[in-house]
Symmetry: C2
Subunit: 240 residues, 2 copies
DNA sequence: AGAATATTTATTGTCGACAATAAAAATACA
DNA sequence: TGTATTTTTATTGTCGACAATAAATATTCT
């Protein structure tokens, strides 16, 4: 699995403007964490980050506080900071919340979407189609995430949009872990489910949107659970 | 309305230990924001805070970043930081999410509660009863919040618990605004609804828990909306 | 006098340095 | 040799100072 796909190059000598430092560290770290470029549980060194971005530790620290607030990083007081481990014991909590947010956001999108929302959603669906055809797994994962976030935005409830975004991000790490190109019949199935979802949102059929979202969520949850189970079986003899 | 109830005194000359500074600022600010001791929209001065707590600006700043992450404070880059205004135009989003979280957390509590959970919930309900009898509005608001958070914790889904806590905190500000002692028949009604809720959780009746939570949420939403409408009428001639 | 421009002022974002902390390494002891 | 104690080391949390920013004020020009 190639993890070195979209690591953004820093501008090393180009002096960043005031206030850009925290943002740069935050964005880069976030990207690297979600793409598993940084291994869950691995330490994050303030000093090295400061050197890497050519800034002092103060803005790096502020970026860490932000990341910690979103649960992407865990700070051990007076010790060090690590990339947030994936919380396998509580995955069922995650799946429960993810499913509910799929349903709620898709329902609300059906209720509140404008024509502009629909067009933006369709555009992302086209992007997803291209990624599937190109068998570009990282792109599929990213576009899929943006597709569902855009639907949530059409629903116009920031509380749901925020939680859903966080859940989908956490899900990105899981997908990156398990979603090698094993099986590319599945993405095609998602493609059709997405089309059905768009159709329901288009005709503002709330019940249908709910049903389809629920089925879609179950599909994805079952899929990830299958991957994990297979993985556990492979690692059956290894101590944890 | 007395807002100077539980403003915690700082220990002025007692040197705080390393790492306690951020926490102290964060906790105090949070408390003051949620109790409306600090007016929504009012500026938050880093320098004054640093002086007040006898620390430098660096830890104050980290506390601000945390508060900003939770939406309790809004930072205008290169300008200043203000206490987050209450977002009246989007209150319906808030009520929608609040109602859903009431339902979901109470359902899950009925499904997953242990005997210890039940006892803790009952203890908080006793505290609420005392606050009602003492007509102590600030205590009622705070204990009520803790009561529902504890139920959410019994449901064992941190995603819901986190979102619900944030929503209840936001709600605290609304209640403080409108919930003068006008009407103390209402708290008594909540008292009975809480009892019903506990009973449903006790006998693990998920459907009943859902129904009661939904009714409870509707009750509260309607109540706040009534307060706001009355308030708007009073202020009808004033420019906003 | 009124608008455009320059200057002052207040406050932020960042820096480099230093002391507190907790683990790791080294030493003393049984 | 194995355990308790001290010393070293790595890294954090905090500080005081300084430069960048944008508003507020003063100044110039037509």
């Amino acid at each position: 699995m190639s993890l070195e796909d979209t690591v953004p190059a820093q501008i090393p000598e180009a002096k960043r403007k005031r206030g850009q430092g925290v943002g740069a560290v935050y964005d880069t770290l976030r990207h690297e964490i979600l793409n598993l470029t940084l291994e869950p549980g691995s330490p994050v060194d303030e000093v090295k980050l400061a050197e890497r971005f050519g800034i002092s530790r103060t803005p790096v620290r502020e970026a860490m506080v932000k990341l910690a607030g979103e649960g992407l990083v865990v700070t051990l007081p007076n010790r060090f900071t690590i990339v947030a481990p994936i919380d396998f014991p509580n995955l069922s909590q995650f799946f429960d919340a993810l499913s509910l947010m799929y349903r709620v956001t898709t329902r609300l999108a059906a209720a509140n979407r404008t024509d502009d929302d629909l067009e933006a959603i369709r555009e992302l669906q086209r992007g997803y189609t291209h990624a599937v055809e190109a068998r570009d797994v990282p792109a599929m994962i990213e576009v899929n995430r943006n597709f569902h976030v855009r639907i949530a935005q059409a629903g116009r409830n920031r509380y749901y949009t925020d939680l859903f975004s966080r859940l989908l991000d956490e899900g990105r790490r899981l997908l990156r872990l398990y979603y090698s190109s094993h099986n590319d019949a599945l993405p095609r199935m998602y493609l059709q489910e997405h089309e059905d979802m768009i159709a329901a949102i288009d005709r503002q059929d709330i019940d249908a949107a709910d049903r389809i979202a629920q089925a879609h969520a179950q599909q994805i949850v079952r899929q990830i659970q299958t991957y994990i189970t297979e993985d556990r079986r492979l690692n059956a003899g290894i101590s944890l």
